[in-house]
Amino acid sequence: MLLSILAAEEEAGGIAALGFDLPSLIVYLVNFTILLVVLYLFAYKPVLRIMDQRSDRIREGLETAERVRQEAAVQQVEMEKRFEEGRQEGQALLAQAREMADRYREEERGKARQEAEAFVARARDDIQRERDEAIDQVRRHFAELAILAAERVIERSLDESAHRDIIEKVLEESPSINGN
């Protein structure tokens, strides 16, 4: 309707001389419509979709990066916490070990001292015994020597057993030879 009005107006105004022609106009309209539809279906729509996909992908990428960054931060905190725990645990173990070593050393030292003391005591016993024995022997030799000497002096043989009694008596009276 609009077209016919326009056509009438323009023809009345002598615009037909400029080349106005209704069939041409319709052909151009149809032509434009076809172009619009084809370009819409085969160019605009796919390209816009691809543009959307691209921006989606970029946004996704950014989001992923952000998420990864946050996760890394969380993990770092976690790791630091775990590291701190490990450090404390290690220190506790170390302290425990040191304490155990100290105790062990004390024990060993005590044991060694006891052993040494026992050894010394035994040695002292041994020495005492050896000394007693040596004194005994010396005393015996001395007795024999004394008998021998007495025999020589009096030039007569005494009854050995009576004689020995006399010597024993002498020795016991002499404090310098007695071991006790």
């Binding site: 609009l2 077209l3 326009l6 615009i15 001389a17 400029l18 080349g19 106005f20 022609d21 069939p23 041409s24 106009l25 052909v27 151009y28 309209l29 032509n31 434009f32 076809i34 172009l35 619009l36 084809v38 370009l39 819409y40 085969f42 160019a43 605009y44 796919p46 390209v47 816009l48 691809i50 543009m51 996909q53 691209r54 992908r57």
Partner: protein, 303 residues
């Protein structure tokens, strides 16, 4: 490399000057000076109505119409082939086609925002592409040199820029107008018509019987009427802006080639490339501006 380039430039410059001189002597100006009665090219005669090239059924197909079909086919081929492969990382033709569509989309979206961008984009983009490609194709040198003789006597151009046919700009202007009014009505429903039929102020003035308000009500009615007229004037201005520019451009090229045959036309070719682009941009941009105004809230309710 540089001396080589210099030599090429010198040879090229000499060639241009020689062609210019030969063109000057050959052309209509030279012919007039030298007393010859005709230039190298026949005197161009301008006819606004495009001549018929052949008949298709009952329809007389004009050369401008044929040219619009060529434009359509070229555009479809370019964009359909260009966007056929949908690689995530585009290259070559795909890149060019996507770049063109993306730029147009951003142009539309920067004007109306995302809400209407998707809806307005196809028409605006098609107007731009159709007008610009139509103008540019006509600048391909051989385009205007093809002849046919439909009646066996007169020779007519096979192709002629469709913009030089009044009907083509008119058709697009009508599309643009229908598009704008459709969106105005769709967004504002019947309230859109209040832009043109403004009895509200007068009615209020009559009820309160205040003379200033009656007066401004009368002015408001007149403004509404002007608004209505302006919407029709848009169609006419759209039509004649494009028609005038395209026709004038073609005449400038013909005349410049007629006056001085060679080289002289080249700057005008450059100019016409620019004009084709600018006219397409104006057509698409104005349509976008009008539709933006149409869907924008008029604030009628606030009056």
């Amino acid at each position: 490399m540089t001396p080589m380039l210099k030599r090429i430039l010198i040879v090229f410059g000499i060639g241009v000057v020689v062609l210019l001189v030969v063109g000057f002597i050959n052309g209509a100006i030279g012919a007039a000076f030298l007393g010859r009665d005709a230039g190298f090219l026949p005197a161009p005669h301008v006819e606004l109505a495009p001549p018929e090239v052949f008949k298709l059924g009952g329809l007389s197909v004009t050369n401008a119409m044929l040219s619009s079909w060529v434009t359509t086919v070229v555009l479809i081929l370019f964009f359909v082939v260009g966007t056929r492969r949908k690689a995530m990382v585009p290259k070559g033709l795909q890149n060019v086609a996507e770049w063109a569509i993306e730029s147009l989309y951003n142009f539309v979206e920067s004007g109306v925002g995302q809400r209407y961008g998707r809806s307005f984009f196809p028409i605006i983009a098609t107007i731009f592409l159709f007008v610009s490609f139509n103008a540019w194709l006509a600048l391909i040198p051989i385009y205007q040199s093809l002849w046919v003789s439909p009646d066996g006597v007169n020779k007519v151009h096979l192709l002629r820029s469709a913009g030089t046919d009044l009907n083509m700009p008119l058709a697009i202007a009508l599309v643009s107008a229908v598009f704008v009014e459709y969106w105005g009505l769709r967004v504002h429903k019947i309230g859109y018509l209040r832009e043109f039929v403004r009895f509200g102020t007068l009615y209020r003035g009559l009820r309160r019987f205040s003379l200033p308000e009656i007066f401004s009500g009368l002015i408001d009615i007149f403004v509404g009427f002007l608004e209505l007229i302006s919407h029709f004037v848009r169609i006419v201005s759209f039509t004649f802006r494009l028609f005038g520019n395209m026709t004038a451009g073609e005449i400038v090229l013909l005349i410049s080639a007629f006056l001085i045959s060679f080289v002289f036309t080249l700057p005008f070719y450059g100019l016409e490339l620019l004009v084709g682009f600018i006219q397409a941009l104006i057509f698409a941009g104005l349509t976008l501006a009008f539709v933006m105004v149409a869907v924008a809230s008029h604030g009628d309710e606030a009056h």
